[in-house]
Symmetry: C2
Subunit: 336 residues, 2 copies
């Protein structure tokens, strides 16, 4: 037996030596030696993130969290990907309503469709929440969920971002995709928590972020169960599943879906404030990041819709991530 | 380099030999040699389950499914654990309403509480769905979710099953817990899809089944986001999140939550029929199991509330699992 043990030891040692030679330190030396966030500038923000993740995943530390508690929640639009001039869910709604009005031009004579047909941004801004909901759902009411997913997929393949001339799915922030990869590699379960429609986000979340459909929490069209040619189908209804996944609804839906308070929350607008608060108020370690759009050259510059959360972040000392200062590179298609 | 490679090969071979010596065949020989379902009687049902799981998890087979598609859904009451004379969610509601009426005896004079106060089973059966909803939610309206979870935990610790004199959490069917373990070990993601209240089932799902809170899909009380002493809290509202998780609502909620059709569905009553159909109608391999309560001696004997699903199962040749015939042992506390 001893002879066998020593031949194993020799073999294992040889494997370790070979791997070290072939692949450098990866996996054998402390993980801090390999930079998990190369698109983040070295500085307080990056060190803070890595320090936090190491602290909660190191079993020798009091701050260690078991994998089941390592829950991270990310807003999508403006947090993981560009949301200007339209977010991808908004662009898909616009595209679908235009298609609907081509088929049914008579609908374009009445609110809320009139505002969109006339591209009257003033009138669009004045639409009530109920009217925005009607616009959002109308193109696919009575349509099966399978058809919706097919149409969403076609839109994602064929549409282009108006400024960057790339598919919307190429407008994810490279530093944020690195952060997702880093968290997944350290045993976190990551959820996308978006005001956008769940079905659309699921159509790209796996490929774009490595996040499976079941970890997408969005605003959701109610579905009705029915039969088509003897087979069960789900058909989209003209209403939303409540609560709408924005503002306080994000905190509520996180609990309904996960049953735990997150440890990490990342957002960029006032609609993310309750989700950030809900994470900050957990008992135990937590990390809050707020993406600040301050880079007109590489992305966009705006505080609109983020006034309250910026104020709260400054007051409570949450991490405000400056796209201009903290990101070496914003999009994969851009030079540094 | 060649020398290094051959020393690795020798080492790896030695490790394999040693493991074979120490642990028998585990992990190296076909897994079918170790019985994953010892509490199931050898026969068609058991062989069918194991054959199916092997077929969809064997990468060399055309029927192989990647782990992301290996979704299994299980009803809880009467499928994973005893539901007679009351299911555990029903028992908790009964317990909570009794507590409420002790504090507020004046409520006991009006419907639907009167029926419960007077233990009038005839009047209870006549309650409308809305009244049953009111009974279900009333004890915890305005209460924080943290308090609800604490009360649910206390009930689970202190209450006993009236016939078996064990905690409700000891009334899980041993063969079904083995099936859960087997599926989890083969890369399945398992969801509990129950008409019972999500918060209560989450209070025991991890310990009893190894299923984490986020994989429990139940009927859910609506929550309101609020602040208590400056901290964010979730407070229970007097309404349900729609759809109620029963019947067609189960199929809808499975899609809302997971975004995929399941591969395996297991139920026991008419409320599970749409979930079983929804699984049967997926493109590709699927396994349907219907637990049949036909063992008065070791458990209970009833078809009430399962008439339609039994008929459909016979017609479509789904697997009807007989507690009497297919289970070697039902509960861990019973002799064989």
């Amino acid at each position: 037996m001893m002879r066998k043990m020593s031949s194993i030891s020799a073999g294992v040692l040889a494997i370790f030596i070979l791997f070290s030679t072939l692949f450098g330190c990866a996996g054998l030396c402390p993980s801090s030696l390999k930079d998990p966030l190369p698109s983040w500038k070295d500085g307080e923000k990056k060190r803070g993130i890595i320090g936090f993740v190491e602290a909660v995943t190191d079993p020798s530390k009091a701050s260690h969290l078991p994998p089941g508690e390592r829950i991270a929640v990310f807003d999508n639009d403006g947090t993981l990907m560009c949301e200007e001039p339209l977010s991808v869910p908004e662009a898909f709604i616009f595209h679908s309503v235009v298609g609907l009005l081509e088929k049914h031009p008579e609908m374009g004579n009445r609110r809320p469709f009139k505002a969109l047909r006339e591209k009257d941004s003033h009138a669009i801004e004045k639409l009530s929440e109920r009217e925005l909901g009607e616009l959002t759902l109308a193109p696919f009411v009575g349509v099966t969920q399978d058809t919706y997913i097919r149409e969403a997929g076609a839109f994602l393949r064929e549409s282009r971002h108006p400024r960057f001339k790339v598919p919307y799915t190429a407008t994810a922030y490279r530093p944020m995709v690195e952060l997702l990869d880093y968290l997944l590699s350290r045993g976190f379960t990551v959820y996308i928590v978006s005001g956008g429609l769940t079905g659309l986000i699921r159509a790209f979340s796996q490929e774009m972020y490595g996040i499976p459909a079941e970890n997408v929490i969005g605003t959701t069209a109610m579905l009705r169960y029915g039969k088509h040619e003897g087979k069960s189908v789900l058909v989209r209804a003209p209403s939303f599943v409540m609560p709408i996944n924005d503002g306080e609804g994000k905190a509520v839906n996180i609990w309904l879906r996960i049953g735990k308070r997150p440890v990490i929350a990342v957002g960029n607008s006032d609609g993310d404030l309750p989700m950030l608060e809900f994470t900050a108020d957990r008992n135990g370690p937590h990390l809050l990041l707020l993406v600040h759009h301050d880079d007109e050259k590489r992305e966009y510059c705006y505080d609109r819709g983020a006034e309250k959360v910026l104020e709260e972040a400054r007051k409570r000392d949450w991490n405000i991530v400056s796209i201009k200062e903290d990101f070496v590179r914003v999009f994969p298609f851009q030079e540094k």
